[in-house]
Every structure is written in C-alpha cells, then in structure tokens.
C-alpha cells in the first residue's frame, strides 16, 4: 500500500486539479575537487518515530554493466541510512522514483501526496559521493492534507538546502 502510494506520488500520476502538490527542492553543492563524481541521493519520507512512509527520489548511476564496480547499483549501499531503512528491500530501478545522478545546482521535483494521511512526517535526504562524504538531513514537517508546514533543512557538505513546499493546484 505504502509502496504503491510512493510510486504514484513520486511519479505525479494522480490527476491534477483537485490535489495539492509538493515541490521538493534539493540543492547539490558545487564542490571544487580534482575528481568530482555526482552524488547518489535518496529522498524519502518517514514518520517521526522512524517508520518508513515513502520514497520520493533515488538518483544513482543506473547503468548496468557486468563486473564489480561497473554496475551502478553496487554503490547504492553507500546511501547507508536509506539502504538499511528501505533500499535493500527494493528491486531497482523503481518506476517514478529512480533517476540518474544530477549535476550540482538546484533541482525541484513535484510530488503529489494524494492519499497521504494528514500528520507529522520527516523528510529525509541522504547524499553519498564517490571519493567524497556522506550526509543525512532530516526535516520534520506537518501535513494537514492541504498545506505542508516545515520540511526545511540546510546541509553542510554534500547537500545544500532541502525543502518541501506545497502549492495549491491552479
């Protein structure tokens, strides 16, 4: 049920019109290093007590080649918090959630929370970069079924701003 909600929500497949939408902003900082690789990033929603609710995005090297280190999925375990919470349960890629890695800059994805019950949640963002570091951000938020309150965090190394905002569908 939850997984279905995740797929539907992340893909934004629900009919626009009556449903509110979330804009999720993720900032990938530009890091000046000799050898830069785009980070793997996972965005998901938890309950405040830690229960998993839904995946919003998983950006990783989706190329599938034979051999150790060639298959991009081999490094998904480096998103350690996500891997332990839900990643290892999934069969990748996940439609509507998986996507290729993204370049430094600000990225926005649209999520349709649809049938997500009102309540308190935590937006979790995790980034892990080859030859770099790993960072996990937690942004508590309250969802009243129409508007989202909170859901903002500022990273220090591998992530910049991560923020959810709601907008009523025009």
């Amino acid at each position: 049920m939850k997984a279905r909600w995740a797929a539907v929500a992340a893909a934004g497949l629900l009919q626009p019109g009556s449903f509110p939408k979330w804009q999720v902003l993720v900032e990938i900082p530009r890091i000046e290093v000799a050898e830069y690789h785009r980070p793997y990033i996972a965005l998901w929603l938890e309950k405040p007590e830690g229960a998993f609710v839904a995946n919003l995005a998983i950006w990783y090297d989706m190329r599938q080649k034979k051999g150790q280190g060639e298959d991009g999925a081999a490094w998904l375990k480096d998103l350690r918090a996500w891997w332990r919470r839900i990643g290892r349960e999934l069969s990748m890629p996940v439609d509507g959630v998986s996507g290729p890695t993204r370049a430094p800059g600000r990225h926005t994805i649209t999520v349709t929370p649809g049938a997500l019950p009102p309540g308190d949640y935590v937006l979790v963002a995790e980034a892990s970069r080859e030859l770099g570091g790993r960072e996990v951000l937690r942004a508590p938020l309250r969802w009243d079924g129409r508007r989202v309150d909170g859901g903002r965090a500022q990273g220090k190394m591998e992530l910049g701003i991560v923020e959810i905002s709601s907008e009523k569908e025009k």
């Binding site: 150790q68 298959d71 999925a73 998904l76 375990k77 350690r80 290892r88």
Partner: protein, 269 residues
C-alpha cells in the same frame, strides 16, 4: 587453534597453553572486504589470520582446511583464489544470489596421552582417527578435545536468515540481531550455544579492531544469561571481534575446550 602454538610437535607446551587461557593471547579471525553489498552480484575477499592486534597480519595465517561457506537457501559454496602466505590466508567469494552468507573455519582435534610399557605416549589428530591410533584401554589415558569455529557473515541485498541456523556442534556465537544489520550505538543480541543448546554463564569478549592506530580499542566482557543470550551495544562503527571460550580443565586431566570467534562490521548511522 593449531596455528596459535609455537610448534605443533611441542605437545606438552600445547597442553599448558590450552588450559591457561589468559596466556592464550593470539586472536583468530576472518576479515571480509565488505559485509553489506548491493547490486546484482558482488565479490568479497577474505583474510584469515592469527594475530594479537586486530586486524593486522603480524603472526600466522589461519589455515583454510575446514573452510565452510553457506549461502542463501543453505547452499554450500566454494571459495576461489585461496592462498596461504606467511602472515595470512586469503580467498574470494562470488555472491551471485541476494541474501546472507556464513563463512566458517571449523576445526576439531583430540590430544591423548597414555603409558605403554612404562613409556609415555602422545597422539594428536582428528577425533574420528583416535580409535585407530590410541589404545582403548590404555594405562593413564587422558584425552583433551578441542574445537574451534571462526566466522563472519556478508550480505548481498536483503539480509536473509537461513544461513544463521545453528550448526549444532561445538561452541557457536549465533547472531540474533542480523549480523549485517549492526549500527553504531545500537544494541545487538547474540546467543551462545554449545552443541546447539544455550550456553549459560559463558564469557563473550568484544574487542574493537584498529588497535594499531588507536590508543585503547573498545573492549568489553559479557556473561551469557541462562538462555545463552548476550546483549552488546557497539559504541562506534568498525569491525569488532567477538570471542567465547567454553569448557576447560587442568593440565594433567581430561578436558574439553571449545572456542568461537565471530567478526562483525558495525556501520555508521
């Protein structure tokens, strides 16, 4: 176990070593290159050695006789590229199926001493060969039985539990909390078993690796409860060495000694 001794032929020294455990400082271990893996398939390489400092090759290799690998579904697997060098043995394992793999080095042996026409005799070997080498009704017959089990676990994808079934012989440190789901600051439970039954009142030593470069590695002793259970909270991420020794005896008498070592990796939160 055998490799801990200066020379296998020095049996009398061996006897003393076995039963004076504080002097038995060398530590046996198998160290995996990774414990938590993702993707469709993966390779893991393992080092097996005996050393004082964890996990540094500084003393002896651990022989690979008695290497048993059980994969998901209870499937037995063979290692590849096995090699024994001066300080360590190593081997590779290809993980082709998602799930948990148990890697064990198991050995057992018997040492017997007796008198024959006034002459002291000694024999050491595999338990099943004792009958053909040691007279049944020998004078002053004394028998020491030793077993050891050195283990680690690795998981590709989702952890499974079928490789975690008790082997049912000797001493085992059986993970209750999945051994590839350990995180810094969290409590994990293990059950100590002797011949498949809960082993109460047995001490479990927990030692953090990295002793060459940190002043005082974390070290803790736990006593198993009546149900054989031990709860350990790992303070920080890293590889840990868990060891339990059961049985014992006094030099000059019959005795049993069972050792089990489990190496686990604790990951950051």
């Amino acid at each position: 176990m055998i490799r801990c001794l200066p020379k296998v032929t020095l049996v009398s020294v061996a006897f003393q070593c076995f039963f004076i455990s504080p002097l038995f400082a060398h530590r046996m271990w198998i160290l995996p290159s990774s414990t938590v893996l993702s993707g469709n398939e993966a390779w893991v390489t393992f080092d097996a050695a005996v050393s004082n400092t964890l996990f540094v090759f500084e003393h002896r290799p651990l022989r690979l006789d008695g290497l048993a690998i059980v994969g998901p579904g209870g499937k037995r697997l063979a290692p590849q590229n096995a090699h024994t060098g001066q300080f360590r043995s190593s081997f590779d394992l290809r993980l082709e199926t998602a799930g948990t793999y148990r890697i064990s080095l198991v050995s057992s042996n018997v040492t017997a001493s007796w008198k024959e026409n006034g002459e002291a005799k000694r024999w050491r070997g595999a338990p099943e060969q004792m009958a053909s080498n040691v007279p049944n009704q020998a004078q002053d017959l004394q028998v020491w039985r030793m077993s050891s089990r050195v283990e680690t676990y690795v998981t590709l994808g989702k952890p499974t539990r079928d490789a975690l079934a008790p082997a049912g012989s000797g001493l085992e440190i059986l993970p209750e909390t999945h051994p590839n789901d350990l995180a810094a600051g969290e409590e994990a439970a293990f059950v100590l078993l002797i011949d498949g039954r809960p082993a109460a009142g047995v001490e479990l030593n927990v030692v953090e690796g990295g002793g060459r470069h940190i002043q005082r590695p974390f070290e803790q002793k736990h006593q198993s409860g009546v149900d054989g259970r031990v709860r350990v909270t790992f303070p920080s991420a890293g590889f840990y060495w868990l060891q339990a020794v059961a049985g014992g005896g006094v030099s000059g008498q019959n005795g049993v000694r069972a050792t089990c070592v489990l190496v686990v990796e604790v990951l950051p939160q």
